[in-house]
Structures are given as structure tokens and as C-alpha cells.
């Protein structure tokens, strides 16, 4: 099985938590399914692990929260694996190169991302779930769909495309206001990202305006997707600790089989 890619960010100090008991709780298995036909030959009844997805814009705190959850889950005796967009062995390099050159048309980029997703689904996510791991996904198909929908792509086409995806055990969308996102992005990089600003859409020649406009559209799109996919919207404007505790609490009920 592929190893999770090492994160290039500085490790987050472990959050204060009560010492875990020596007895490790075995998560209660819950029935799994695919959104559509799934992956040919995959038997979902063998997937004993849990798939937990964190969604949200750059700067919404996804990575920080995932890294805290990993520490917490491991302290409680659960094995974890992390996945995220553009991390596949198959196409991640080519995808980054193409994106840097900004030469791909919309449909191509969309299919390229879907290939990247499918590669990780089959080579990392499904084998890990079969081995009983807790899989933490830093973004999932919802970001990919939202980005394409904002760009006017056909919802039915996307739904068919992502019929390969496994329905996660829990999806958290960290919703942060565009204004707060800007402050966080500047605090981290002193710059806004081309794609996260939706510059390819030509919304505005001004990057700041484009960022705000684009992120508002993404938030609106996520709210639409929420109605279909029923994920949990979490207020990401709050302090890291407060948010972390809430996520832990929610994941506890996923592990005991009371979630979703």
C-alpha cells in the first residue's frame, strides 16, 4: 500500500487532550456504498475503516485540523492514512506542470483531477479502509465538483464522473468568510493563489476583488452541494481549539457508529 505523503508543513504541536485509555475501542462497522457504480470489483463490505473528509478553501484550517485529528486518533490507537488532491503517483506531477502553465481547458483539467482522485481512491483509500485504517482526506470530490460548477460545467456530467467515489463516513466543510480567508492567506504566504482567486474566470482584473468574488461563489456552490450530499457545515471562523474539540466530538460518534 502507498504510504501517505509526508506533509511539507511544520508539524502542529499536539493539542492538549486527556490521556487515552489503554483499552482501544474498535470502531463499529457501518455499511458503505459508492455514489454510483463505484470501482469495478470492489466489495464494500470488506471496508472496515472509516473515511473522514475535510473540505474548505485554502486557509480554512483543513490541514491544521487534520493534523490534530491524526494525533488524537493515533493516541486512541487508530491507524491513520492521509490523502488529498493532487497527490497521486500517476498524474500529480503532470497535473501541477499543466496547471503552472495554465494551458489546459476546463474539461481536460477536470478529467485530470478525476484521474488523480481515482488513482488515490484505488491505490490508497480503498486498500487502507480494507485494512481498517482511519482515512483522513484533505478535500474530496466536493471541492472538485464545486470548482467545476462555478465554471459552468454540467452537474449531471460531474455526477456521472464521480459515481466512482465512495460515500465517506463523515464530511466536514469548514466554512470561513472570504474576508477572514484573505487575512489568513496573507498571514501565511503574503500572497493569494492564482487558482484559489479564480483568476482563470476573468471575474476581475484586480486579484483581491477576484478572490473575494470567487470564494463567495464557491461558498454558494458548497451550500448547493450540501443539500445533495448532506455534509456537515462547520463554522471555521472560530479558534483552532474550539473547532478541534467540536470535530473530535463529531468523529467520536462516527467511530461508535452513531454518526452521519
Amino acid at each position: 500500500m502507498a504510504k501517505p505523503r509526508a506533509t511539507h508543513r511544520a508539524p502542529v504541536p499536539p493539542p492538549a487532550h486527556r490521556p487515552a485509555a489503554a483499552h482501544v475501542v474498535v470502531p463499529k462497522p457501518t455499511p458503505k456504498s459508492f455514489y454510483g457504480h463505484g470501482i469495478p470489483g470492489c466489495d464494500v463490505s470488506q471496508l472496515t475503516g472509516k473515511l473522514i473528509v475535510m473540505e474548505g478553501a485554502d486557509g480554512s484550517g483543513r490541514s491544521t485540523q487534520i493534523s490534530r485529528l491524526v494525533t488524537w486518533l493515533e493516541a486512541h490507537g487508530h491507524a491513520t492514512v492521509q490523502v488529498g488532491l493532487k497527490r497521486s503517483t500517476l498524474v500529480s506531477e503532470e497535473l501541477s506542470r499543466a496547471q503552472a502553465g495554465n494551458v489546459l481547458s476546463r474539461m481536460t483539467l477536470s478529467l485530470f483531477y478525476a484521474t488523480d482522485f481515482a488513482d488515490q481512491l484505488e491505490n490508497v483509500i480503498l486498500p487502507a479502509l480494507k485494512a481498517g485504517f482511519m482515512v483522513l482526506a484533505d478535500r474530496y470530490i466536493y471541492t472538485l465538483m464545486a470548482r467545476d460548477l462555478v465554471r459552468g460545467m454540467d452537474a449531471e456530467w460531474l455526477r456521472n464522473l464521480y459515481g466512482i467515489a465512495l460515500v465517506p463516513d463523515a464530511v466536514f466543510y469548514l466554512q470561513v468568510s472570504p474576508e477572514e480567508l484573505i487575512q489568513r492567506n496573507f498571514a501565511k504566504n503574503h500572497a493569494l493563489d492564482y487558482w484559489e482567486s479564480g483568476l482563470d474566470l476573468g471575474l476581475s482584473r484586480d486579484m483581491f476583488d477576484s478572490f473575494v468574488d470567487y470564494q463567495k461563489r464557491m461558498i454558494a456552490q458548497f451550500q448547493e452541494l450540501q443539500k445533495i450530499y448532506g455534509f456537515t457545515i462547520v463554522d471555521g471562523n472560530r479558534p483552532v481549539d474550539v473547532l478541534g474539540r467540536e470535530l473530535q466530538h463529531k468523529i467520536e460518534s462516527v467511530l461508535t457508529g452513531n454518526g452521519r
Binding site: H37, P40, L90, E94, S110, A114, T115, A118, L161, I164
Partner: protein, 227 residues
């Protein structure tokens, strides 16, 4: 799905399909030469040839990293790139576009590999149909001989080894090509394939191709500008 003509494009797209060794590449090359020599605007495009996607595809193939799903998606990515950046703009500009394999190759291969037909067709639902599709129908044994004589070393995916049909690459290739042929024949009516008897001599086949193209496409309207 509609053809480019039905969608009002000034250009026309001609595709050739068939299993490996059916002689389709030779035929479309000869058709291309004939059209070019008449001074027409011609563009040729080959399956799985987008520069951007190529390195990922060849890496996946070399390391046997591809599954039926990723095999399907990476070829759809390749096709979308060529389609949106080359085929469609050229057809807008009134070109005769010749394609060695089109979406039917995906319809046949991906389905033989176990992807559900509605899913595969859905992936390509943004694509317009060719104005003419020639299907080169050869006896399976004749095609197999052509390939197996010329190139004894079969590639893993080409031989369908990923399907675990047989441990022997040659046997696997036979079974795989046979299944592809079945898929092609099953969609032949739906997509109005013009069936060419690929057991005939090269010249006889080319005569049919040229006649059909001349009958169906008013070639005089596709002259390249004088310079």
C-alpha cells in the same frame, strides 16, 4: 449525440476505428495524402497523443499502475485535451480533421475492461460524433497475424494482460482483441459505422474510402488559402 455537420461546424471529422492490425492507420494515412495533394485543409490526430497527458499515461503503463477506471479516465483526459485545444478550433476553422481512433475505442476498450457502459459514455457526452466513421472489419486471425508477425514483443496493456485472461501474452491478446471486436460490432449500427472489408487489398480499400469521402463531403469547399 450529434455530428459536427449537424451542429453547424464548417469543418468535417472523419474517423477510423478497428482492432489492432486491421490496417486502419495505413488507410487514413493514404486518405490524408490524397486530401493534402488536392490542396485541402487537413489535420491528422492520433489517439493517446496529447503531449501534456502523455508522460502520465506512459508512466502508468510502464509501471502497470493503471486500473480499468484510471485507464479510462487518463484516456478521456488525453482526448479532452486534443478535442478542446485542437479538434474543435480546427473544425470551427473549416478543416477536414482525420482521427486515427475516436471515442468508440474508449467505448470498446473500457467496457471490455469492466467499466459500465453508461459511465464511459457519460464521460464522453461532451463530444460531437464524427461526420464519417470507417470501421475496418478484418477476420480476427488476419489481424492477429499482422500484429504478431511484425512485433513479437506485446505490450502489457495492449495484450490486455491487466484483465488476467491468460498467463500467455499471445493468448491474452487473442481473447482481448476478440472481445473488442464484439464491442465494435455491437455499436456499429448505432453510430452508423461504414464497414470496410479489411481483408481486401490496400488499394481496394483505399478506393472505397476515397469514393465515400468524395460523395459525402463537398471537398471543393475545403481548399487551403492560396499563398
Amino acid at each position: 449525440m450529434k455530428t459536427f455537420a449537424e451542429l453547424g461546424y464548417p469543418g468535417r471529422l472523419v474517423a477510423v476505428e478497428g482492432i489492432d492490425g486491421s490496417g486502419k492507420s495505413t488507410q487514413i494515412y493514404l486518405l490524408q495524402r490524397w486530401l493534402e495533394q488536392q490542396g485541402l485543409k487537413v489535420f491528422f490526430s492520433e489517439w493517446n497523443s496529447s503531449e501534456l497527458v502523455k508522460s502520465a499515461t506512459s508512466k502508468g503503463k510502464k509501471t502497470n499502475l493503471l486500473t480499468p477506471t484510471t485507464f479510462s479516465l487518463i484516456h478521456a483526459t488525453d482526448f479532452a485535451d486534443r478535442y478542446e485545444r485542437q479538434l474543435v478550433p480546427l473544425l470551427r476553422a473549416g478543416y477536414l480533421v482525420l482521427c486515427d481512433r475516436y471515442i468508440f475505442t474508449a467505448f470498446a476498450r473500457d467496457v471490455v475492461r469492466g467499466c459500465p457502459p453508461p459511465w464511459v459514455r457519460g464521460l464522453y457526452s461532451f463530444v460531437a460524433l464524427p461526420d464519417l466513421t470507417f470501421f475496418f472489419k478484418a477476420q480476427l486471425e488476419v489481424s492477429l497475424r499482422r500484429i504478431l508477425e511484425g512485433r513479437p514483443q506485446l505490450k502489457y496493456f495492449e495484450a490486455g494482460m491487466d484483465l488476467r485472461l491468460s498467463q500467455d501474452p499471445y493468448e491474452s491478446f487473442r481473447i482481448f482483441q476478440g472481445r473488442l471486436l464484439e464491442q465494435y460490432l455491437a455499436m456499429s449500427t448505432e453510430f452508423r459505422f461504414r464497414i470496410i472489408d479489411a481483408n481486401q487489398r490496400v488499394e481496394a480499400q483505399q478506393t472505397v474510402l476515397r469514393q465515400v469521402v468524395a460523395d459525402q463531403i463537398p471537398l471543393a469547399g475545403y481548399r487551403a488559402p492560396n499563398r
